[in-house]
Symmetry: C2
Subunit: 375 residues, 2 copies
Amino acid sequence: MKLKIKRELLLENLNKVSKAISTKNLIPTLAGIKFDLTKEGLTLTASNNDITIQKFIKIEEDNMSVEKEGIIIIQGKEILDIVRIIKEEEINIEVIDELKVLIYTDDEKIKYDLNVINKNEYPNVNLEKSDNYVVISSEQLLNIVKETAFATSTDESRPVLTGINFKINGDILECSATDSYRLAKKEIRLTKPVEEIYNIIIPGKNIIEFSRIIDGEEEIKLHIFNNKILLEENDLLFQSRLISGNYPNTSKLIPEDSILKITGNLSQLYNVIEQASILTTDKEKNIVSLSTNGNLLIVKSVSNEKGKAEMKMNIEKNNNEDITIAFSAKYMMEALNALNTENIEMSFVGEVKPITLKNTEEDGLIQLVVPIRTY
Amino acid sequence: MKLKIKRELLLENLNKVSKAISTKNLIPTLAGIKFDLTKEGLTLTASNNDITIQKFIKIEEDNMSVEKEGIIIIQGKEILDIVRIIKEEEINIEVIDELKVLIYTDDEKIKYDLNVINKNEYPNVNLEKSDNYVVISSEQLLNIVKETAFATSTDESRPVLTGINFKINGDILECSATDSYRLAKKEIRLTKPVEEIYNIIIPGKNIIEFSRIIDGEEEIKLHIFNNKILLEENDLLFQSRLISGNYPNTSKLIPEDSILKITGNLSQLYNVIEQASILTTDKEKNIVSLSTNGNLLIVKSVSNEKGKAEMKMNIEKNNNEDITIAFSAKYMMEALNALNTENIEMSFVGEVKPITLKNTEEDGLIQLVVPIRTY
């Protein structure tokens, strides 16, 4: 293999695939990035037991020149460090023998002579595509991640809750995330209906990782298999395992009626909850109480040690009922954050029933926060 | 005590004094900030066993209004969090009784009712000034910190090396820092000679803290006592303990002659050392070797596991000698960083003797790096 390539182009793509480098180093080979050079271009692949990322860089005028095709596995951290620290515009990568690769600049004032990983030890990565893929836009994918992923659980004792549930039926994609204390649910209409019915769980941290490396201006193809999913954006392939198990039926958690609905300015509501919460601690679940008194909303917190906080703001109500309810300020703020709108609607069924939050202008997204009993 | 004050003014000054809040909380009182309000203004004080910071905010038109004088100790973290999170321009602070303070906005939509610390439990902070203070400019102090503090030791087993040695004699201030692997030495000429001779050790982390909170446009007064120093910039007082013990005589460490001097571009030298060092590890002291070959400087590193790096640049020499010497890339880069100039001069006495680095345009600063034997 012998190649001259624009440094920034290589760096940008190494940064993407390197997200799949295993840092645990249980299998040293998985700390490597595979360079596969052909007359068509350079394919970079990195894989750990959880995800595989592959990026194809097509030869275009001036972006690289291939002198000799070939395959090599280079330590991911080292090649990234090197390509990052060189300031020159182009770098040369040249395989000397099966165990050595030279990385150097044209003037040879910078020269690295790296030991490589035996390519026979590298796992056979099978990135299978499906003919019946599902299509969503990058924007839709980014919204799903932003609006639901935060509500996944980090507790590995219930693995299904660490993922986002994707249910696809006809032209409806329904994404749910819950850690059993709150629920985020987003419904999307697909432009191209799907024949099969899908009900899968994608690991939350994997889809977050994918959302960080996409260009964000293209459509995304979802190739769904029994125990894995391949996400495709242009020349970027991202494969993740799926979480097996049954995802809880979240539809029945969402209250159908309410005793009171209030509407108010989202950022003002966020502020009063944040301001009330600063005397609370994470250890005590950052509990604040919310109560209505006519058109006044009062958010309070009490700490025996530190003191009391009390914030007020104006709201509108759909009837004359009043409510007092307590919840985790942290969870409520994350739910508000995900709604990303000017005004929101909060529905109450009672002081021990979930609080429903909705954007007043869009129906596709629901956030649910479970109250905390304080007595 | 009753006070209305501009929020940003209070925040700015709380941020400064809060650097002395004890986070360890061994003595709960030391987590507090003392508010002392008189008709002249507000004095904020925070103190732990190591440093005391005091800031006086003078009443000026429109910056605050005092309704009732008084003293109160408020939890430092809480008052900082509150003043940070309130968005209004002015806030009110009102003591209700000996144990409660109200913090609120004019419209009372934001209200905190905080438990306070008993003022009788607060230590008696004695910030003594001396008539024979030493004067340096803020710029000189910032330079001392930037150019020497990094070379102090973090190893508490030899406490004197965790400080910066200040030796003052007549109009000469000599500052040294060493962890025994490198030495940074800065000499400054004082505008006002001093009668007494001083030889003190100021804890490195304390003077760094002070350098971060000064305005940087004023002169600094150093009030030096037997076991403490009071640093004064306008209305800011910063007291630190001094480290007791004898500081090593660093003058005799600096080689007087050399077998070879090289001069070269500092940032280029920094780059080649950094580029060579990326295959090395902190654990192995980031060893790189430097050798000259005519007017070529070659910096190399070798890692059995990863491979080899070799960088080249052009330099000038004062004679035809050549040298090969090895050192910690990290220490050399920190020394280069502190020199902050275009061209530097490196002097060698031999491959096991300290390397001297100097700015080619200024004589006051010397950096020494001890080589590492690699055989």
